[in-house]
């Protein structure tokens, strides 16, 4: 593994069902050129975007489920 990561530029395998935004963030952190990796400042911004996205999704999902249950009751 040391050789694979250190010298053959291998990285951990990323599952396919993961949010592409998350994957791109991960992969940017793993850039073989350290200076091309984001700073934590930048990471924080990316995560904030993700957070916002998921919050919206969550709220939408909840709203939908409320709607659904409301529909069912009718």
């Amino acid at each position: 593994m040391i050789g694979a990561v250190g010298f053959m530029n291998q990285r951990l395998e990323v599952p396919k069902n993961v949010d592409p935004q998350w994957i791109s963030l991960m992969e940017s952190c793993w850039h073989s050129e350290p200076q091309d990796r984001p700073s934590f400042q930048e990471i924080m911004e990316k995560l904030r975007e993700l957070q916002r996205k998921y919050t919206i999704q969550f709220q939408a999902a909840r709203a939908a489920s409320i709607e659904n249950s409301a529909l069912k009751e009718k």
Binding site: M1, I2, A4, V5, G6, F7, N9, L12, V14, P15, V18, D19, W22, L25, M26, E27, S28, C29, W30, S32, P34, Q35, R37, P38, S39, F40, Q41, I43, M44, L47, R48, L50, Q51, Y54, T55, F58
Partner: protein
């Protein structure tokens, strides 16, 4: 002191007092160093002499010279030292003891001194050793002392003694040796472990006298005696009191003094002093505990009032009582009777401390308070605007109090340097009375404690009570060190919760609060461990961020180095993800990632930036609100210090950036890589590179 006084304040006081006594010890050591130098200079005029003449009172002369060679004095210390030195001129008893006598005594101390390292190689060999053994320094250096000095038939005994000294004991006794010509003769030797500034054992110091100096039959093998002495004269304190304390008092003292191989005599004496001191120190401790109960009883002044510590007290000081009884005169450090040169030191002190002895016999302790309050601890407290809680109105009346003293010489001598010496005796002998009287005026446990420490703080011996300050010395002696000292005794250690980079982490209780205690690997604190401890503490104490584990304090006692932090109940992110019981929703995971990023962003924006170097899920801790905090800075470095960091410890390969794996320079971006691996863990809940199975996942 009131029971309600914040422990931090008590600690502060205690530490400061202990520091004070340490200074005294240092000074005494300096004196002894001078003595040794004088001895070697023979009768030729010593450059020290004019200084001593100026001091004009005989006894404090060593103080003066000691001060001259005392390099680490703080301004505060210097100032108070000068004050004390000035007062020395009034001394009376000093007249009994001239420079010449002093020199004569020193001349009688014909000791050979040699030091050998842990590999059994002689690394120091003085001129008396040359005379005694016949080997020149160049011949002896690098040799094994057992090879060249000990006959084959005695080698196993010698090895045994060496081994025991290597474990921190001192040995004094008679031993058959041989000289270069192969002639066997008997010597009296004191062997003490030698420590470097950081408290690492670096070798054994032997101070040797030809037995012929003490008893006629030179050359007698003394074989029968050898066996007995070897067993019986192992420093008693090591087995009794020190073990009770769980500390290696010698290590504490010696390391504290920063002794090196050039100062061998001090070490032997240090061990003696430390014997006494650890007893006193321990006693003080036990008094602290028992003081509350005793307070009331002590007022009655009955001997029984010592209660719990009475037994200990007896045990600890029995030696001295015996000595006093048999020698007729009080010997401040009775232990020295056992050692070859103790005889001389004893006569030295007998002369100079007589008044104090008398006082201790007659004393009801009244004189102790004002006298010892001249100590620097007092000055410091004045500066700090603190007062002895038990002193009350005595505070402003310090001078007046002195003049109330029954014994005129107390007034004259209270500022004399010599008091350091004699007080050790005084405190030992008259402790019960003295402390009782103090007690009567204080009636509070803390007061009792302060006063008894204070009594002792002017003595050479009590400094060993400062077991904690000694390691602190090694660890980090800057003043804010005082702010984070946590007493091991105040911690209740619970279950083990993890294994850090260089220690085991336990769940603990500290005054009813949950804490995590990282105990640095036990027993011998190697230089390496002390260095990493120091590094981690000095780094962590600066960090203040909601996503960085809160540093609460450190235990810095000789037997233990611990870092105390807040305790986060959900444990590490690694375990959380592996346990897999809690279904973390996506928002939570992102939130956790954000927490980590915030903590890391803080570290990287410190000035100078801090590089964690071991960022991984097992070093991320989760509190009950699911907040994640960055922890374990054992491998962390301040950026400018070590650009090429990989030599000084490695992280965990799965999380390490490729450039780090290649042993190239690490910087902030190496932490970013590790963060990427943590993002991966957060989504997969797997162990990185687990399938490769090649890792030593030791640090989980």
């Amino acid at each position: 002191m009131e029971k309600t006084t914040p422990p931090a304040e008590e600690l502060l006081k205690k530490i400061r007092e202990l520091e004070e006594s340490q200074e005294h010890l240092k000074r005494e050591m300096s004196r002894l160093k001078v003595s040794a130098e004088m001895k070697q200079r023979s009768h030729s005029a010593s450059p020290q002499r004019p200084v001593r003449r100026n001091s004009n009172d005989g006894t404090p002369m060593w103080r003066k010279t000691g001060a001259a060679s005392f390099r680490h004095a703080s301004p505060l210390r210097k100032e108070s030292h000068a004050k004390v030195a000035g007062g020395g001129g009034e001394g009376q008893s000093a007249g009994k003891f001239t420079d010449k006598q002093y020199l004569n005594i020193l001349q009688s101390m014909a000791q050979a001194v040699h030091v050998f390292d842990l590999n059994g190689q002689i690394i120091f060999w003085n001129s008396m050793a040359e005379k005694l053994y016949g080997f020149s320094a160049s011949e002896a250096l690098g040799k094994d002392p057992i090879d060249i000095l000990v006959d084959v038939q005695d080698a196993s005994v010698a090895q045994n003694i060496t081994r025991r000294c290597s474990s921190g004991e001192s040995w004094t006794g008679e031993f058959p040796v041989k000289n270069k010509a192969g002639e066997r003769f008997s010597v009296v030797t004191t062997m003490s472990p030698s420590y470097d500034d950081d408290g690492c054992l670096i070798g054994i110091i032997c101070i040797t006298n030809d037995s012929a100096l003490f008893q006629d039959p030179r050359g007698s093998p003394a074989k029968t005696r050898r066996g007995q002495e070897g067993e019986t004269s192992f420093s008693r304190v090591t087995s009794s009191v020190a073990s009770k304390l769980g500390l290696d008092s010698k290590e504490a003292v010696v390391s504290k003094l920063g002794l090196d191989s050039q100062q061998p005599i001090q070490v032997a004496i240090a061990s003696k002093i430390s014997d006494l001191a650890s007893k006193v120190g321990n006693k003080v401790k036990s008094k602290m505990r028992a003081g509350d109960n005793n307070a009331a009883n002590l007022e009655g002044g009955s001997g029984d009032s010592h209660q719990s510590d009475q037994g200990f007290f007896d045990a600890a000081f029995a030696d001295r009582r015996e000595d006093a009884a048999t020698s007729g005169a009080d010997t401040p450090r009775g232990d020295f009777i056992q050692s070859p040169f103790g005889v001389f030191l004893r006569s030295d002190e007998k002369a100079s401390t007589k008044p104090f002895r008398d006082s201790s016999d007659e004393s009801d302790g009244n004189s102790v308070v004002p006298k010892t309050l001249t100590s620097k601890a007092e000055e410091w407290m004045v500066k700090k605007g603190l007062s002895w809680p038990w002193k009350g109105n005595e505070r402003e009346g310090l001078e007046g109090r002195r003049s109330h003293s029954v014994w005129p010489w107390v007034r004259n001598e209270q500022q004399k340097q010599q008091a350091y010496q004699s007080n050790s005796n005084h405190s030992v002998k008259s402790e019960s009375q003295a402390c009782e009287s103090i007690k009567a005026s204080s009636n509070e446990p803390m007061g009792y404690w302060s006063s008894s420490v204070n009594v002792n703080s002017t003595s050479s011996s009590s400094s060993c009570g400062s077991t904690s300050s000694s390691v602190m010395n090694k660890v980090d002696m800057d003043s804010d060190c005082l702010d984070y000292e946590i007493l091991w005794e105040d911690l209740t250690i619970g279950e083990q919760i993890g294994q850090g980079s260089c220690g085991t982490v336990y769940h603990g209780l500290w005054f009813g609060s949950d804490v995590a205690v990282k105990v640095f690997s036990k027993q011998e604190y190697s230089e390496e461990i002390i260095t990493s401890f120091r590094q981690e503490v000095s780094l962590m104490k600066r960090l203040r961020h909601p996503n960085v584990l809160l540093f609460m304090g450190a235990v810095t006692s000789p037997q233990r180095l611990c870092i105390v932090t807040e305790f986060l109940p959900r444990g590490s992110l690694f375990r959380l993800l592996q346990r897999n019981t809690s279904k973390l929703d996506w928002r939570r995971r992102i939130h956790m990632a954000s927490d980590i990023a915030r903590g890391m962003n803080y570290l990287h924006h410190c000035t100078p930036p801090i590089i964690h170097r071991d960022l991984k899920s097992s070093n991320l801790l989760v509190d009950k609100n699911w907040t994640v905090k960055v922890a374990d800075f054992g491998l962390s470095r301040i950026k400018h210090e070590t650009y090429l960091t990989t030599k000084t410890g490695r992280g965990t390969p799965q999380w390490m950036a490729p450039e780090v794996l290649r042993n190239e320079a690490a910087d902030e971006k190496s932490d970013v890589y590790s963060f990427g691996v943590i993002l991966w863990e957060l989504v997969t809940e797997k162990i990185p590179w687990e399938s490769l199975n090649a890792m030593q996942d030791t640090c989980r």
